[in-house]
Chain length 346, copies 2
Amino acid sequence: MPTPSAKAYVPFVSVENMMRLVHSIGIETMMIELVEALEKDFLRWEQFDKTPRVAAHSEGGVIELMPTSDGIRYGFKYVNGHPDNKLTGHQTVTAFGLLADVATGYPVLLTEMTLLTAIRTAATSAMVARHLAPENAATMAMIGNGAQAEFQALAMKAVAGVRSLRLYDIDPEATEKTRRNLEGSGLSVTACRSPEDAVVGAGIVTTCTADKQYATILTDNMIGAGIHINAIGGDCPGKTELHPDILKRATTFVEYPPQTRIEGEIQQMGDDYPVVEFWKVLAGGEAGRTDESQITLFDSVGFAIEDFTALCYVAERIKGTGFFENLDMIADPDDPRDLFGMLQRG
Amino acid sequence: MPTPSAKAYVPFVSVENMMRLVHSIGIETMMIELVEALEKDFLRWEQFDKTPRVAAHSEGGVIELMPTSDGIRYGFKYVNGHPDNKLTGHQTVTAFGLLADVATGYPVLLTEMTLLTAIRTAATSAMVARHLAPENAATMAMIGNGAQAEFQALAMKAVAGVRSLRLYDIDPEATEKTRRNLEGSGLSVTACRSPEDAVVGAGIVTTCTADKQYATILTDNMIGAGIHINAIGGDCPGKTELHPDILKRATTFVEYPPQTRIEGEIQQMGDDYPVVEFWKVLAGGEAGRTDESQITLFDSVGFAIEDFTALCYVAERIKGTGFFENLDMIADPDDPRDLFGMLQRG
């Protein structure tokens, strides 16, 4: 067969190559660089085409497409959420993503995004915590020690000054897995016996549990004045982690209100519950933390622009490396009108 | 690095492998098999989740995601439409698609879909023509001889009994390309000097021009009684090929009315313009052609279910062949909660 032209090739980053890329950069450096890239994109928030995600719900879970564009590049992520997948040895959440050139519509990157999503979610949390957490918040409680835990811990260490971690999970094995994985990370890690125990002395409280149901991981009495709550786990309709009384006391920061009101912790509150768009804090149009005793809450659900940032970052960072292969994904006949001739000669 | 488990792999059909698959099956056999598969899926039309396509428009074109699901499998197509791409040697339309398992959300097929879209579009046209064209319609006029032309011709030959073709394009080189490519196909091919010349004696008139503007490829006086019109080219807002007077005389059949009213020929008509959903003709709930003098019009815009059928067909047909490669696209840690451990050990 004739060799496809360069236009026919789409760089593809496999899971293995993503791991190599992360190791070659170093995970903490990657978190720092990604936070820098996220801040740049959050600062130009209004340039992005913001479409609600397109969800296909089924009994076992959901499959979503999350597209966005800045007018130059177009990106989307395919992501599933199937809570019972762990019973069959599958990942609850898997993802891949694609970046394309808006001018031609041609894809320019295809990549695994299961790892990349874990990394961008943690980087987003750390970006927000750096701006909202109380000063010198060196201790973080982490309730829920699943797949996202270590990424959150290392991002908070690299970007938000966290030095010690207090872990809790209903399954002690999950806590032990997280503790073991963080050995040698430079973080001081304590396994706790209860959520109440975990939050003792913590300036940042991260919740990232996985149950798809209205749960109360944090109750009002557990949250003292001045705490920053980083709520990751409540990220789809019917899934929340915080008691509504906490929301009543907190100043709540969100990514994109139309999505968060459906998917986030604030789905428990009325439509008039006040929220602050985090990009406006970065841009200086809205206040972040205004006093030491304020409870700040980042009601994180994950937004397409964060994936876009991560896709652009990977597209840039694989240049000149061997961490991708070229996929022959785009039919590219010599004469664009002669698709059939290409097939015939193939 | 440890070898990824079988769950981590997604079969990928490259352009080269799609060409090999088509050659190994034979394009006319493939059209016949695909029409059979399309009819089965059209007959269970109501089982499908029908979402309007998600479009990102820009100055130069559009990028679309077209998802659908039958509750067992989920499919989507990424497709762009950039009319000026041909000026830079790019394809106007390129596409790829993905099929996933609804129960787990795991992808089960990634494939090029530029060729596959051309094939499924032609197969859909042929399926409809087989049911609606006048009896013994052995001659087809084809106005617009671009990338879709030969696929339409061979599908109509394989499925709808077409034996001779009358070609016209404003660019004689396009006509010559089509004529040359169809040498040895068994079709008798005539190059015509005008659209009026092309339609002489034709029982089926196919329009597949590419200009993105309101154009009048067919005027009322060109369409005699009893003709079946297969209108392919008018497939996005602002792009039509038929004079509205033809629509007033014809019985119009469509794929999915909410989409066709925006994208098809009928965007020129009022919202009360009557249309027949083609799947209902197959299912016996609506009449197809009812008399010899009736003008039938298939206002084709291309719908996600057709891509779904094509994806399922390819997923089935590559089994046991070498026409795919396995992509390591899904992170698959031994313990689903230990994504970080997988990264660390990688």
